[in-house]
């Protein structure tokens, strides 16, 4: 395997080892502070009143009785938030519209889903706050609602926005609809490709919306001073983004809001956007008291974006030898109450693992009376991969070809065009498929009622804006501060890269997640970007510090700085001057900081490019109980190209976690609505995420094809692992029962029905 990274010349001392994480002890003793664990003197409790209706016009809201209740210090509605301009801003793939965002945080003209916030109170106790909610009188005009995506696309569907004209269609439609946007991406000549195919395989699929299922409900604590300055303690995937969005929604200066990152109890994409923070800030501003809001699990399910549900059709054309010559997909995604499903990601990622000359992906972003969807681990990609990888499996079976061999034959390589324009630039896809083919699990015999499924998947990974500061203390210990929220071990991986670069021991480096006033901007910990992009910032800051240390050694030795190098944690003289030049350790230089120029600090901000995508291939063995239709996952193997695993245990954990979520998505999890458009399973009893006894051991294969654009070869690791999981399980179940399963979740009734020929 070619290894082109900068650090290869010498043995890595720290990278690739498995030290205990620096933030670990407080998390096993209960002392780590998560979003709900902060409090301040005089603090009030905030609670949110939510719509009981799926769709209704708000005629009026009377808060006077609530306001008059003893102990109530503030009541707010959308009237306390400024109106926002209607425009889509930011890159198309992740564009936001603040006109929609402010309506998601607090309803204005209409409530658009059951659970939509309509008002909020702050009171001296939870009990009083709850009582006050009951005193708010909202006069609703209930409207017809629409839940499912195909119903929402019908011409006579109830409209969420009476003036929504579909974007992306020329000429623009003359009538409004719930279709926010149509996307079409294509390369080659798809019709000609299908005409030249020997076999064509086509199928339609449906997936239910699923929730990220983070165990920590959204929570924050806000205070707001009369001079306009505010502080916020919040659990989020990016405190700088929460700061920017909250300030925008309140109409305040970013400089007046300081956000402290709480430990975050799971996010998976669901904590990229604010839900409670703007509400707590307004209540704090109105009341003059600190305000804490902690959501209930029911509120999390009903109000805080699940992943999109979908309806999809995928068609591929192949030659007899197994080459794919054409592919087409139509992906209809539920955006929830306002536009912005990840359908564009789905269109882009769908066929990306493969080298196909003629491809067309068409996507629809459709609003309906559900909570606005939020990102969920490789948002969009697992959904389209489920459809594509199912059809790939059918195609391999059609020509009696081994399903991994079929994928390998068509796998994308550097130079293969993507459907959105640029060519693939990185190795790793074929290596990952081969690693799975070589795994002993792939050739283990199966028994009756058992089936084996495989699938592959692609995810972009992200780079982007990150900041890091490295401080050398006077005793030679090192502080590394970044602005990146630590979801699951990035303080460890960043400290390891710093220790490796500086040549010091891991336990001499103390990493922190700094608040928004203490470090430069850091974008979300999302898109598997933190160890990659923030890692680059950390390494660059370390290199700057090393330059400074070498200059100080040169000063101590009275030699030219260019004759000093940093090697093995020491400054070493390489020039020709005679005399004693014992290498100077970092500590030896640090203790003399005051006489060699003062504090030794470097802060570096980057906008990291050079991202390498993630690629995963997975295998799943299941057994289906023919009496009940219940599926038992017997074995699961996940192989992923991780570039280089900085802390292999945490990388394995990412793969295992992604697979577990994918198994839940495939088998159990779904939002279930009643006739009135109300969610009927808004709790962990009825919305069933996998528990320990549901799962087998999840075996991992870390494929390491380094990213040449990162000093240690890092590719993002957090997301690609969930992309193939849905399809791997579906392909296994389909083989076990001899029937193609085309709907998720594959709950026992659906499987029984398929086994009984549709009855």
């Amino acid at each position: 395997m070619p290894d082109t990274m900068t650090f290869t010349k010498k043995e890595l001392r720290v990278v690739g080892t498995r030290p205990v994480r620096p933030d670990g002890v407080p998390k096993v003793t209960g002392l780590a502070r998560f979003g709900a664990d902060y409090s301040l003197p005089g603090m009030l409790w905030g609670r949110i009143l939510r719509s009981p209706h799926a769709h209704a016009r708000i005629r009026s809201i009377d808060t006077s009785k609530a306001q008059a209740l003893r102990g109530v210090k503030a009541v707010m509605t959308s009237a306390d938030l400024p109106e926002q301009k209607f425009e889509y801003v930011g890159p198309e793939r992740v564009a936001v519209n603040f006109w929609h965002m402010t309506r998601s945080v607090m309803a204005r003209e209409k409530v658009l889903f059951e659970g939509h916030p309509v008002a909020a109170v702050a009171a001296t106790s939870k009990t009083i706050a709850e009582e006050a909610l009951g005193l708010i009188e909202v006069d609703y005009e209930v409207l017809p609602h629409v839940i499912d995506v195909e119903d929402a696309m019908k011409p006579d569907a109830p409209l969420l926005f009476e003036d929504m004209i579909t974007r992306g269609i020329e000429p623009a439609p003359d009538r409004p609809s719930n279709i926010s946007k149509r996307i079409e991406l294509k390369i080659g000549d798809v019709e000609a490709g299908f005409a030249a195919a020997d076999e064509i395989v086509e199928s339609s699929f449906k997936t239910a919306p699923v929730h990220q299922g983070y165990i920590e409900p959204q929570a924050c604590l806000a205070r707001f001073d009369t001079d306009g300055q505010a502080e916020l303690w919040a659990s989020s995937q990016g405190h700088f983004v929460i700061r920017a969005l909250s300030a925008r929604l309140l109409g305040m200066d970013i400089g007046n809001l300081r956000v402290y990152p709480a430990e975050i109890g799971g996010g998976f994409g669901g904590k990229n956007v604010p839900y409670v923070e703007p509400v707590a800030l307004v209540l704090a501003r109105k009341s003059g008291h600190p305000v804490k809001i902690v959501l209930s699990r029911e509120e999390v399910f009903k109000g805080c974006g699940p992943a999109a549900g979908s309806i999809m059709t995928v068609k591929i054309g192949i030659k007899k030898d197994g080459r794919i010559v054409a592919a087409a997909g139509v992906f209809k995604f539920q955006a929830g109450a306002v536009p912005g499903s990840p359908v564009m990601n789905a269109c882009m990622c769908a066929f990306s693992p493969y080298d196909i000359p003629n491809v067309r992906s068409v996507g629809y972003d459709v609003v309906s009376n559900r909570p606005k969807t939020a990102a969920y681990r490789a948002p969009g990609s697992p959904i389209s991969a489920y459809a594509v990888e199912s059809v790939i499996d059918m195609a391999a079976a059609r020509i009696s070809m081994d399903p991994l061999q079929f994928r390998l034959k068509n796998v994308a390589k550097p130079g293969t065009p993507t459907v959105w324009g640029p060519k693939h630039a990185h190795e790793g896809f074929a290596e990952t498929i081969r690693a799975l083919m070589q795994h002993p699990a792939y050739t283990t015999p199966l028994n009756k009622n058992q089936g084996r499924g495989v699938a592959a998947g692609y995810w972009f990974n992200n780079g982007g804006e990150s900041s890091a500061a490295v401080h050398i203390n006077e005793d030679g210990t090192v502080l590394v501060a970044t602005g990146s929220s630590d979801l699951s071990g990035t303080r460890a991986s960043l400290a390891m890269m710093a220790a490796e670069t500086l040549g010091v021991e891991f336990d001499k480096v103390r990493p922190t997640v700094a608040d928004t006033a203490s470090i430069g901007y850091g974008h979300l910990s999302a898109g598997s970007r933190t160890t990659f992009a923030t890692g680059i910032a950390v390494v660059e800051a370390c290199k700057k510090v090393i330059g400074n240390l070498c200059a100080r050694a040169a000063m101590i030795w009275d030699v030219n700085a260019e004759d000093v190098v940093w090697d093995g944690g020491c400054a070493r003289y390489t020039g020709k001057k005679s005399g004693e030049f014992e290498p100077l350790s970092l500590k030896a230089i640090a203790v003399k900081k005051s006489v060699t120029g003062g504090p030794i600090v470097a802060e570096v901000s980057v906008n990291a490019g050079g991202v390498a995508p993630g690629f995963a291939a997975e295998l799943c063995d299941v057994e289906v109980d023919p009496e009940t239709g219940a599926v038992k996952v017997l074995r699961f193997v996940t192989a992923q190209d991780v570039g280089r695993a900085i802390h292999p245990s945490y990388v394995e954990g990412q793969l295992q976690g992604g697979a577990a979520q994918g198994i839940g998505w495939a088998l159990n999890e779904e939002y279930i609505y009643d006739e009135a458009g109300r969610l009927t399973n808004a709790g962990f009893l009825d919305y069933r995420v996998p528990v320990a006894s549901d799962l087998p051991r999840i075996e991992t294969v870390l494929v390491e094809v380094p990213n040449p654009n990162h000093p240690f070869g890092v590719k993002g690791v957090g997301e690609a692992n969930i992309v193939p999981s849905l399809a791997a399980v579906a392909n296994a179940v389909s083989r076990a029962i001899g029937q193609r399963m085309t709907e998720l979740p594959m709950s026992p009734p659906k499987i029984l029905k398929a086994m009984n020929g549709g009855r």
Binding site: I215, L487, G653, Q656, P690
Partner: protein
């Protein structure tokens, strides 16, 4: 609203508190006593993040009323380490990377300790079923199971010494 006076023991120490009749033990621990290591994930007894023991039995503290603590012995995550010495389960969770975000960790540690008190030599399947009431969304459970089994091994060795 009249408050009830409750006398109880938390992590071995005598504790008195006042609470309203409807307040849960979880609310009393977190909001009243400042013991925020016990987490609320659902409030309906489905996720196990609020696991504590009452007289040695694991319960979801969100399903217990504060007044029910009267005369009982409560153990929370804050009482798990012996002063500055981590419990073997706590150490093994760190060594095996048995946590990612860490929100479910206190509840899982409390539940796992209770398992090992009853069954010092559990099989993997027994650990999986015992912990089936404790949701973890990050790890896929592998490394949690590894940590519990390894802690059990170490604790059995220590018992024999």
């Amino acid at each position: 609203m009249t408050k009830h006076h409750v006398t109880t023991t938390v992590n071995g120490d005598a504790v008195e508190f006042l609470c309203e009749a409807h307040e849960t033990l979880l609310e009393v621990l977190r909001d009243g006593l400042g013991l925020t290591g016990t987490k609320e994930g659902c409030g309906t007894g489905d996720c196990g993040a609020c696991s504590v023991t009452i007289d040695g039995r694991v319960v979801c503290s969100c399903l217990v009323l504060g007044v029910e603590a009267e005369g009982k012995a409560i153990q929370t995550i804050e009482g798990m380490a012996a002063g500055t010495r981590l419990h073997p389960l706590q150490r093994k969770f760190l060594e095996h990377a048995g946590l990612q975000c860490g929100i479910c960790t206190p509840g899982i540690l409390v539940a796992a300790r209770s398992l090992l008190e009853r069954n010092p030599d559990p099989t993997e399947e027994e650990v999986r079923y015992w912990l089936a009431g404790n949701l973890c969304r990050c790890t896929g459970y592998n490394k949690i199971i590894d940590a519990v089994l390894d802690a059990a091994r170490e604790m059995r060795g220590a018992d024999h010494a």
